[in-house]
Amino acid sequence: MNDNETFERIALPHLDAVYRAAMALCGRSGDADDLAQETFLRAFKRFESFQAGTNCKAWLLQILRNIWIDRLRKKNLTGRPLPLEEAIVAEQTNENDTAWSNSEDLLENFSDEHVINALRELPEDQRLTLFLIDVEQLSQNEVAEIMEVATGTVKSRTSRGRAALKRRLASHAREMGMMRGRTNGTFN
């Protein structure tokens, strides 16, 4: 078996996970295709650095994150404004958010697109962290390695990201007339 076949056998089964992450970051399928493809090509060039037996999905997602950061930097360098959904916005967390009384029922009223768009409105670091923890179900240690931060940071980003996602969903729900109330998620 040559290198190409070995790489395809080990890495390509994670294409869906890489593509999902690309969608979470880019939001458009064409851009996600491009990001996923670049991830696999770069991974192939660096395949020698992959240690057999370790988590290939996490390795690929780390490469994807690095490419994404490069692209963001490049966009900033060229002076073109980032699309609104990519802008890094300082998040104010509200530690005193109260729980929804009917969270499961309420969440079922959102379309998949609504939920994904709400995720995409989060700041970059929270968005990818929450995606890796909740969607890809990676461990906090694995995510810490991918994001190159401490495990404690992963915990706080996940927590803040989930709270921010809740606020955005609450805001959408209010716009859709699904719920009444004030901002910051205090709805019933």
Partner: protein
């Protein structure tokens, strides 16, 4: 009564035992509700991505790009070393000398041997392009044309024509390369159709062995293809700008036309 911290909630979400490690949950309805809500959000987020899958065309495209990148099959099996007997070992200096002669003569014959001249030049341009995309080499990563121009001026002593960013094109950076034994400069442009390198050389398009000419506006271009890459060249002043990439000739020409001074368009 102290409620659970956000960190403790995250630990529970990661699978730590609620009953053993967090008995508070049994007594506190508020914390139970908050945990249930976090779990519901996580589950809904997960289910929202259930239908997000890569299309078969993407998998095919990646496979074909991998095959193109890999080139001839490289084996991952360990290579069996054959034992070399003592007599052959004594002849090694002679083999080495013969190999050295071949190393010198083959490239020379490629340069001065009719159609193979073009192939050699094309191969070098494609090699430079691939080299520019390789992560493991010295590359000046910079997107501002002014800084790239300053880098070229410093390293090569001239300011090449650079495209203005925008219109789907962005500069990635530049590199100093070797072409036909000379030091040349090249820069990389990201486009919506892929990545291209523009190699700036002093050789004329004709001397590169590129025979296929065409005209756009008032400008003459030369086009060719080699190893899945298309190439388009144009002469601006004392330099030839060779755009190389797995991108159509039309798009490469479009980029080069943006480099032209107004009186040359």
């Amino acid at each position: 009564m102290e409620h659970l911290t956000e960190e403790q909630f995250e630990n529970i979400m990661q699978g730590e035992s609620q009953d053993v490690d967090f008995p508070h949950l049994n007594k506190c309805r508020d914390c139970r509700n908050r945990l249930a809500e976090k779990q519901a959000i996580a589950a809904r987020l997960r289910s929202a991505f259930d239908s997000v899958k890569a299309g078969p065309a993407l998998a095919d495209r990646i496979r074909s790009r991998l095959t193109a990148t890999a080139g001839p099959a490289r084996t991952s099996q360990p290579i069996q070393r054959k034992r070399i007997n003592h007599r052959i070992r004594q002849l090694w200096p002679a083999f080495a000398a013969a190999a050295a002669v071949l190393i010198v003569l083959v490239p020379l014959s490629l340069y001065f041997g009719g159609p193979s001249t073009a192939r050699a030049a094309h191969a070098e341009l494609v090699r430079i392009h691939n080299h520019n995309l390789s992560p493991d080499h010295e590359f000046y990563s910079e997107a501002e044309p002014e800084k790239l121009a300053a880098y070229f001026k410093d390293k090569l002593g001239f300011n090449p024509h650079l495209p203005e960013p925008g219109h789907g094109m962005a500069l990635r950076g530049c590199c100093v390369n070797h072409f036909r034994g000379q030091i040349v400069g090249s820069y990389v442009v990201d486009t919506s159709q892929g990545v291209m390198s523009v190699v700036v050389v002093t050789d004329t398009p004709e001397s590169l062995g590129i025979s296929s000419q065409f005209t756009k506006g008032r400008q003459t271009y030369w086009k060719s293809s080699f190893a899945k890459c298309d190439m388009v060249s144009v002469r601006i002043g004392d330099y030839t700008y060779c755009a190389v990439g797995e991108i159509s000739h039309e798009y490469l020409t479009e980029l080069l036309s943006r480099l032209l001074p107004e009186d040359q368009e």
